[in-house]
């Protein structure tokens, strides 16, 4: 191969626009995704700023009611469908799945590129919906409001999400085939990094769940556009059917967000503790358990919708069951630290933050699985707080941990450590100040999606907005120092963390073909060596 000359890597192997837009290299596609989802994250954050500014005062005085309703809708749509769902899988997963299993690329490089284009086309539709005046249905698109009463751009938004869904399906398909067929010799299933197990479980949800949300939103568009009665009782439809279909996907979708983050945590915590993961097979299997059980709990979003008492009881007990594999993971990560050799660079700070916030998010999930308490807190800020602890405190902390951990691998440069630590601390403090008061105001009874609210809730809302300002700083800082590091960061070398895993055995940034020769795997994942032979 002529490209094997020293210094040639995936980044400098061609500079033209076409060399990026027509690339079939999973690493370049990961970078394309990184740029796209960062733009969407910025957009979603701007909407969040609007929400928090409005809620500073009880009167709806900054924006009109319709504008406010569009703000929280577009915040939800952008963050869920165009940032969180693709975040770790499409960026870190795309980059790392082939590298971690010793492959040259994903199984279907062209499909991989196509999935990025599909994502961009879907995002373009939803951008159009936003620019043309926005959408005000809430990200949940409940019928018959979305299919009839709302007079905003529901159809283009639904079409945008429908299209983007295919990007998710194709990515999942690509990962599953790649993990089955392209593992390096010697890399048996139980030697795989847990990041791979997590992505395998995530991919299962993507290909099984996404078609359901896609067809459901298409049905909403059909009812809205052509008056075909599916969900609107005035047309002979059933509005509750929509909720079943929507949550059949959208509850598992939470696991599409959190499972890859869990994979990141397993990689990062072992590296910074220089230690084998505690209970490898339990952590691996719990990912699959979450993927399977996650499909059986959607009814807990409908405890006050009028569903039967028996359905509610069954969904409640299953929802408690899905908490167990998550708890098992947290206990195993904690135990991994025992007798480790722990250092505290930014990725590890994010990991510790993740464990704290995810634990609170998980425990408050028990309140919502609980029938007696959920009736009261359903559709209040308690729910808003809970899912932000999971999606932001969990999924985004995991994404940040992973981005810092693999940044040197992706771009060959070290980010500056101190600003990164400061930003991790800001995120943790700002996050808690933003969302913890929302548990209290939620139990007090403040419903979500309220443009104006009774005076007595103001103090807690002011705390939330203050926290959000700190959180915003914590998110802005990395944008500067990460970009700075591309030019001024010190060279990372192949393995700055002395991490295990095949991705660290190749130069940073990696060559286009990833490995000079196909690696042969002879040891378990996380074989960080021994300080003393010790068996528990």
């Amino acid at each position: 191969m002529e490209a094997a000359a020293t210094g040639t890597n995936y980044l400098n192997n061609g500079y033209g626009v076409a060399s990026w837009l027509l690339t079939k290299d999973h690493k370049r596609i990961a970078v394309l995704y990184l740029i796209s989802i960062t733009v969407m994250f910025l957009l979603g954050s701007l909407f969040a700023v609007g929400i928090r500014v409005e809620l500073l005062t009880p009167q709806g005085d900054v924006f009109g009611a319709d504008t406010y309703n569009k703000l929280f809708t577009m915040h939800g749509v952008v963050m869920v469908f165009f940032f969180l769902l693709p975040s770790i899988p499409a960026v870190l997963g795309n980059f790392l799945v082939p590298m971690m299993i010793g492959a040259r690329d994903l199984a279907f490089p062209r499909i991989n590129l196509a999935s990025w284009y599909i994502y961009v086309i879907g995002a373009a539709f939803s951008m159009y919906a936003m620019i043309a005046g926005g959408v005000d249905t809430g990200w949940t698109f409940y019928t018959p409001y979305s299919s009839g009463a709302s007079n905003t751009n529901v159809i283009p938004m639904a079409v945008g999400i429908f299209i983007t869904g295919f990007s998710s399906i194709l990515t999942g398909l690509n990962f599953i085939v790649t993990i089955h067929r392209m593992r390096a010799p010697g890399l048996t299933w139980f030697r795989l990094p847990l990041f791979i197990w997590a992505h395998y479980a995530t991919s299962l949800i993507m290909i099984l769940g996404t078609p359901v949300i896609a067809i459901t939103l298409l049905l909403v568009a059909l009812e809205r556009g052509l008056g075909i009665g599916i969900f609107d009782p005035a047309l002979g439809g059933d509005p509750i059917l929509f909720q079943h279909l929507f949550w059949f996907y959208s509850h598992p979708a939470v696991y599409i967000m959190i499972l890859p983050a869990m994979g990141v945590i397993s990689e990062t915590i072992t590296c910074f503790a220089r230690k084998q993961i505690f209970g490898y097979s339990f952590v691996a299997i719990s990912s699959l358990a979450i993927a399977v059980l996650g499909f059986l709990v959607w009814g807990h979003h409908m405890f006050v919708s009028g569903q039967s008492v028996y359905a509610a009881l069954v969904f409640s007990v299953l929802s408690f069951a899905v908490a167990i594999p998550s708890a098992v993971k947290v206990f195993n990560w904690s135990a991994t630290l025992y007798k480790g050799a722990i250092s505290f660079e930014a990725p590890m700070l994010y990991v510790i933050g993740f464990i704290g916030l995810f634990t609170i998010g998980g425990l408050t999930g028990l309140f919502l699985s609980n029938l007696g308490v959920d009736i009261h807190v359903h559709d209040t800020y308690f729910v808003v707080a809970h899912f932000h602890y999971i999606m932001v405190g969990g999924a985004i902390m995991g994404y940040q941990a992973g981005l810092h951990f693999w940044w040197p691998k992706m771009f060959g440069k070290m980010y500056p450590e101190n600003p990164a630590r400061i930003s991790a601390a800001l995120v943790f403090i700002g996050f808690n100040l933003t969302f913890f008061p929302q548990f209290i105001v939620g139990y007090l009874g403040m419903p979500r999606r309220y443009h104006a609210y009774p005076d007595e809730f103001q103090v807690l809302n002011v705390l939330s907005t203050a926290g959000a300002s700190i959180l915003a700083l914590g998110y802005l800082l990395p944008a500067f120092y990460l970009l700075w590091s591309l030019k001024y960061g010190r060279d990372a070398g192949p393995n700055p963390w002395r991490a295990k895993g095949l991705e660290w055995t190749t130069p940073s940034p990696p060559p286009t073909e990833n490995f000079e020769s196909t690696p042969y795997v002879e040891e378990d994942a996380y074989a960080y060596g021994t300080r003393e032979a010790h068996v528990v």
């Binding site: 009611a65 009782p233 098992v328 722990i342 309140f367 419903p447």
Partner: protein, 352 residues
């Protein structure tokens, strides 16, 4: 800025203290585990911090005993939480038989309420304390949710069907009423007050005229009060339903006489109905409603599918009045429709 900082909601219903006790149990368990995990993670982080650059961790792979321990114990705790939650929920979900009934219709963006005795109000709900109250709820347009935080209860108002919610207020006072399901522009203005009163005061309130309280409450989007003024507070709901029943010509077919085109309506409510296709259903509010709006869906065995639909001809409140009338027939004529029990009962029958 408001000077008050409440941290916990008022308890004003019989179920509220039970929900809160369960809540505090969950808080206690959560605190225990959160503190435990924080202590483990931070404790290990300090104790096993890396002291030299070459240091590596101990070669520990796991422990089956520990895995079982931290699977089984949380699962046991989760089951306790489930069982306790189910116990509380079953009380919330099942109204006592002696509940008094009130009807609630949600629409963008107000709550319309009618008491059995005929009194109507908007965005206000007056109830007596010490008495179970059952709300039968529906919506005219999109999904809303009827939420009284001080009572710890909530139920969606779903167009096209009835849901029910019950509570027993314990303390006289004025409490928040919220719409909890996002329903469009003025969702956050779809709020009101629940006014719990001593029973005697409630009885007195029932006898007052509607006009003033409605006019006060309907301030923001106020078309409703005058617009659909059916026989305003003139009669109780069943009586209003009977008037409608005559007005719409239902009696022509639903006579309780041999050869009548439609089946008798006496005893429909609460009893099983047999249909032409062999299926059966118990006559509840939703069934009666469906029989009026979509009469050919279930045709009672022995009758022809000839009833026209009343879809679009009746408001939600009129439907509730009709249903109340049909229910009153069931109470008046428990199975002995034969002996012609008076003018308004038993002489009627509703297609199914």
């Amino acid at each position: 800025m408001s000077s008050t900082l409440p941290l916990f909601p008022e308890q004003a219903s019989t179920i509220a203290s039970q929900v809160d006790l369960l809540y505090w149990f969950l808080v206690a368990v959560s605190l225990f585990f959160a503190v435990l995990i924080a202590a483990i993670v931070l404790g290990f982080a300090v104790k096993y911090r890396r002291r030299s650059d070459d240091e590596v961790g101990a070669d520990i792979h796991g422990s089956l005993a520990l895995e079982l321990l931290w699977t089984v114990i949380p699962f046991g705790i989760a089951l306790v939480m489930f069982a306790w939650g189910a116990h509380v929920y079953l009380q919330i979900a099942r109204p006592p038989d002696n509940s008094m009934e009130i009807f609630v219709v949600g629409k963008q963006w107000m709550w319309k309420i009618q008491h059995m005795e005929g009194r109507r109000e908007i965005n206000e709900l007056h109830v007596p304390i010490g008495k179970p109250v059952k709300l039968t709820i529906t919506s005219e347009d999109v999904i809303h949710s009827f939420y009284i935080p001080a009572f710890r209860v909530k139920k969606d108002a779903v167009p096209g069907r009835y849901t029910e919610l019950w509570f027993e207020a314990t303390k006289p006072g004025t409490y928040h009423l919220f719409c909890a399901e996002y329903c469009g522009t003025e969702h956050s203005k779809m709020i009101g007050q629940v006014i719990a009163m001593e029973p005697a005061a409630y009885e007195e309130w029932l006898t007052q005229s509607d006009v003033q309280p409605v006019a006060v409450a309907a301030a923001p989007g106020a078309d409703a009060a005058p617009a659909d003024a059916v026989p305003a507070s003139a009669a109780d709901m069943a009586k209003a339903g009977e008037n409608l029943f005559l007005q719409k010509g239902c009696l022509a077919c639903h006579m309780d006489a041999p050869g009548s085109l439609g089946p008798s309506l006496a005893g429909v409510y609460g009893n099983e109905r047999k249909f032409q296709d062999g299926t059966t259903a118990v006559g509840d509010e939703t069934y009666i409603r469906e029989s009026i709006l979509n009469p050919l869906k279930h045709v009672v065995a022995g009758y022809q599918p000839v009833m026209p639909t009343f879809q679009g001809q009746l408001s939600e409140q009129e439907l509730m009045q009709l249903i109340q009338y049909v229910k009153s027939l069931a109470q008046a004529a428990p199975g002995d429709a034969a002996d012609g029990s008076g003018a308004d009962a038993a002489t009627t029958g509703e297609e199914s």
